[in-house]
Amino acid sequence: MSQPKVKSAHTPRWGMIIDLNACTGCSACMVACRAENNIAITGPKEAAYNGTIQWMRIERTWKGRGRDIRVENRPVNCQQCYDAPCEPVCPVLATYTNDEGVSVQVYNRCVGTRYCGLNCPYQGRFFNWFDYAWAPTMEVQLNPDVTRRTRGIMEKCSFCIQRITAAERQAELEKRPVRETDIQPACAQSCPAQALHFGDLNNPDGVLGTVWNAPGLEVLLPEVGTRPKVRYARRVRPLRAPLAESTGNSIASAPEVKA
């Protein structure tokens, strides 16, 4: 029957590092993702039922107390797990990890059981409860490379698979291997602080390959054992001088003990 296609020697495996030191929480990635992937605006009524669709969100957490309070912004998208909990529960194989390590959602195959969404520990999957309408002004800015999801379909971050396939098609036309610098998801492209780094994990000299196993990187919910392909560069704070005047309990202001 069919001849298996001869694969090139190098198969990329796409991953992402999000640098929490650089992220300012400006939400440009969220907006860019929405524009790139034709994500529907579900409206306030749906939002009240937790029905907002946003493939990329920013989780804001507060740490510390009093004057020492600080905010941490964490962009969270689909974590593209190696052992994705969403995949084995799908009864129709509508989600699977492709050769290049991207966990993809096949919209035409999805029947909307929502098992995958329930099994995702990162809340990275979103269900289309209705056919959402676009305002006429929004209609003209829809991305022609991405289809519009219809009612009853689960959707999620695809690492901008349309950009990956477009780069691969271009490489195919130019008869050269695909370069990881050709590809940037919309979130990484829009990030003004360049906190999001996209690259090929199978390329040891690449953007990600050189630092992928660095000790400063963490994954979300490591105890779940999903092994995400998105890693976070942990926030590092410079050591501060003790607040001598305000608190009065530092070593400098401690009363001398006389013998």
Partner: protein, 164 residues
Amino acid sequence: MTRWKYLLTAVVLAGLGAAYPTLTQRAPRQPIAFPHKLHLAAGMHCTDCHRDAAVSASAGLPSVRECALCHARIKTQSPMIRQVMAYAKRGEEIPWQRVYRYPKSAHVIFRHNMHIAAGLACGTCHGDLRHATTASVWKPLDMGVCIACHRQHGAKVECQACHD
């Protein structure tokens, strides 16, 4: 007797199933019966009008102004050309009806440029328009047709290659 009835029902159902794409995909009526065969016989090429086929996802339809460019001089007395020129004079596009389309639920974006780059002739899917007036659904589009050809030519059969 009943066995014959079952058999007959099975045969009819199988026939309907096989004919399903043909029954559901029909060429709509065009506002003007555009004679492809005359244009091709005159030495024109598909991409003279469907200009973007080799470079972009959609093949593209020419504007009525492009029709008017040539037909300002050619065959001006023909009743159909007069219709075309009337559209052009009104500044109105001819409401051509789409022949080949995927259902919305298929979530497929067909890319003409990739198929042309792979060396496929237009006629592989659209039929030989040298003998046809308006375009018809020459090859009904279902996934079996696509996959069979992809397998035969060693093209990608992964879901995300076509379904975005």
